[in-house]
Symmetry: C2
Subunit: 625 residues, 2 copies
Amino acid sequence: MRCVIVDTSRSPFAKLRPVPLNSVKLRDEFWAPRIKQLREVTLPSQYDILEDTGRLGNFRVAATGEGEIRWRIADDSDVYKWLEAASLTLGYEPDERLEELVSSVVRDIAAAQDEDGYLFTLYYNRREERWRDLERMHELYCAGHLFQAAVAHRRATGSGELLRVAVRLADHIASVFGPGKREGAPGHPEIEMALVELYRETGRREYVELSRFFIDCRGRGLVGGSECLIDHKPFRELDGITGHAVRALYLNCGATDLYMETGDKSLLETLERLWRSMARRRMYVTGGVGSRHVCESFGDDYELPNVRAYAETCAAVANVMWNWRMLLALGEARFADVMELAMYNGALSGISLDGRRYFYCNPLADRGRSRRQPWFSCACCPTNIVRMLASVPGYMYSTSGDGLWVHLYAESEAAIDVAGREVRVAQRTRYPWDGDVELTLELEGSLEFSLFVRIPGWCDGAEVLVNGREVEAEAAPGSYFELRRVWRSGDRVEIRLPMTVRLVVSHPHVLCNACRAAITRGPMVYCLEHVDNPEFDVWDVALLSDEPLEAEYVPGLLGGVVVVRGWGVVMDGEAWGDSLYLPLSRAPKAARRVRVTAIPYYAWANREPGPMITWVVLARSGLLR
Amino acid sequence: MRCVIVDTSRSPFAKLRPVPLNSVKLRDEFWAPRIKQLREVTLPSQYDILEDTGRLGNFRVAATGEGEIRWRIADDSDVYKWLEAASLTLGYEPDERLEELVSSVVRDIAAAQDEDGYLFTLYYNRREERWRDLERMHELYCAGHLFQAAVAHRRATGSGELLRVAVRLADHIASVFGPGKREGAPGHPEIEMALVELYRETGRREYVELSRFFIDCRGRGLVGGSECLIDHKPFRELDGITGHAVRALYLNCGATDLYMETGDKSLLETLERLWRSMARRRMYVTGGVGSRHVCESFGDDYELPNVRAYAETCAAVANVMWNWRMLLALGEARFADVMELAMYNGALSGISLDGRRYFYCNPLADRGRSRRQPWFSCACCPTNIVRMLASVPGYMYSTSGDGLWVHLYAESEAAIDVAGREVRVAQRTRYPWDGDVELTLELEGSLEFSLFVRIPGWCDGAEVLVNGREVEAEAAPGSYFELRRVWRSGDRVEIRLPMTVRLVVSHPHVLCNACRAAITRGPMVYCLEHVDNPEFDVWDVALLSDEPLEAEYVPGLLGGVVVVRGWGVVMDGEAWGDSLYLPLSRAPKAARRVRVTAIPYYAWANREPGPMITWVVLARSGLLR
């Protein structure tokens, strides 16, 4: 089984090929316990909710005609996304109980399919409604999620049972839509990337053409013409990332997949433009995206409000998905940087430490009212974050004609096919809490290839050593450091990524972050939460950035995290009393010196509610030379 | 004719009584030309649009049954609001052409009324739709605006023609709604205040009861139960101002009017709570309110985004209306402060200097894309700002049992009934550009009364002189300074309100305004616009607040304004290049020293488009002692 996340093994325009997640064994204290929890707690508990809310029952209703469909929005997709995550989890490590749940869900889905291949439980007995409202109904979207689940299920289990269902549905869709047939585009993109993956798994080239067709149909007003649905312009004419964030990023995933199969340069140019628009002007420091509540959409350049951040968990997950595809396509470290950033911060904040509650929005400042919820009526986020968690081992490595690429760092072992030879890689590291990484290679005999080790964009002063000897070339931040040599068993690569605490500031046009800094260390963004700073209101503190910021690993805290401690002054919000505005001359000044403790952003809101802030005012703003 | 704005002359629980706007003649360079433009340009041009868009035609369709209703949303109310403004304008100064337009509109409205009194053109021939959807349809809202127009028309012209239409409609509504009849509340409040005014004009007490009924019906889920429509709780249980800003403020106007007639303390307590919630935690420095695009609503405490401010023109006008009522009820200067602030800033920005274009949203920072529009499909704002402009002369003075109150300053003459005697007041001043005001009183013989002169909240160091001699008592900011004496003709009161340029800062919990200041002078809030600062991007400048800020009247600029000039440093946004986030140590520092010019906020976006900002970064943030 080659349980990969996006199979570019034979994609002519992809630079990198994925490494199956079942080739990797995580032994670390960060991801490994999360994947265990996923298997033992989160996926089983989500299964129960899918059952309790009727989402699974809908398939049985559709199969038997007995009972009523209980529908909110896109409910079938929640089942499919759960199934994709569960399949990947099984692909990583067998689990008898989860296997049974997966098998039963697959059977329910298969039984619900119509004779002509149609499958969307809401319309199982309402034939006249089918494909009528592409703008608002999520038929194509759900189909896409089924395809992704089916591909994951096949890759994880070897069974073609769900893949056959997917192919029948895809063929049905291809009989309805396409050149000379019905024109249309999905209101919610998703099927575009799924069709390409379905091609990769089945070899049916027509699915690539159908994906292209759906992308090319956009911008012609076929789904209402709104910017929210990215139907206001043809895809290739988009000049900035806009509209509903999840839709936009899923669409980009599809276009990237399509590029990797077709080499269509106009797609790549558009994707580059959209990536710059997002990563350089419209992305939170956490990797979260989609700043507006209105339409859950991207905002204008530099529009990144903190309290009212929408930053949907799904959008951060989609950001990981898109950057993974861009990384596979182009092999550039900037994509891995965004991917890692979103994984550790804006996406991971979407799930509680106990694995049972979820954020839909991920604000960067809060008064203590945002709390993770067990479920949502529109339940896209819970079943999306589990897809990401289950994918982590599959994101660690890639290969290329030149050799082996290391994208993510975590204590682990892997057995990777490099040019037809198995290379075993042992990672020894305490990443993400410490930046020292040791890779030990084992292989039969010797093999010349390049080892591309990622130097994260946040890392100044990285050093790389081979067998204890420093390599002279500069390990530039935000690059892959290429080590080409004849490798032999026992060869040891040390990567030293200094994890200093860094204060990060925003472009001045992010008006709400003026004179503020985010505390970061390694891939982690930090925040101040009231429970660690009970002596003052964290919204009132200004950081004394000239004084030392110290990092300390605290084993008992939040599952074990590195906290950052520094000094601040309290601006005394209470001294303002009832005033909203005061003349500068009469405004209370900062008075009290306090110790400040910051925790990783992803871990906030797991204890007592209280104020939280990510962008902290700098007591001396440092604006002037 | 006593053309007053809210007639509390006989309201038992009102502290103040209004002075008719036709008792005042403005001779100033600020308001007088605007009222002239209103009469000569804005109202005639709006009439043409009301005709061209079918809003007036709808009444003729309803009257004759010929043709089709052309309806968007609440269209009848646009006609009524125009008519109210036009009536007040006629009440202030006759104008033959406008009079003809008004008469013709009144005739059209009267002819459209159904035999049973019902009047809402959309449903003129759809009896079964009437009063069915109180949540979304605006029947009661439109009725309220008709009542206000009818009252204004009667007060301005003496004609009872439209008032009779209003009474028939009110009686029809009273036959449908009320205790023991149909329960319900308007989705969009408005009728509550209008019914009380209709009582004041007709003496029909049942209208007060109907107003109370509608207020008491709120919060019972009769119009959907949403917070947006302020139907989530009973009015008296509201603990903060919330929901759709215009709806919330219109509701508060109605509750204030009801309090003034009934003395219901539970209403006043609620209103006090809501006022503090708004003025102390949820109001822009411009007096604009309603910070969220979602539902055009108030946000949380201190949630006051600048670029994405909703700050609807209608909401600022409603803020003026509510504070006028609170001022009449309680006679406290804090209400006049908010009223004046919103009038000169957040509301006045809603109309262009040429009187032909309007803002719906009034952002406090912009990249040059917000431009005033000639009209909107939901055209509430254009016809609301004209109501406010037409009301200005009626907001200047009030009387009470004690004497005469001066709320607003502008070069003018007035003849006011004080305790049954005519007192003529001449104001000599260049307000709002200069804070020196001279009041000269003329009256037959002598009369003992108190003259209450308003010391604005923004004014430190005010002095008051009577006949050239300084009055010893402290003229505290945000108070009425009481001068009690036997007044004689020729008595002269000088009020010296020092108009220094003031930098105003926000409560630290307004996160987006950290280290920023608004430039203010007198009642005016200033902003930086690109056209006055072409050498740099105004979003990139930091103000050197230690250096002098100089005010200068520039006659040719923007109709004649005082500009404020100071010094700043440019933070060099361009040096950031393509970076969104940078380590503090590598972020470009401010380099170039520049001259900075600020203009009054209300006047922005009347020249070439470009960046604008109201809250300017302070180069030295002044956080520390």
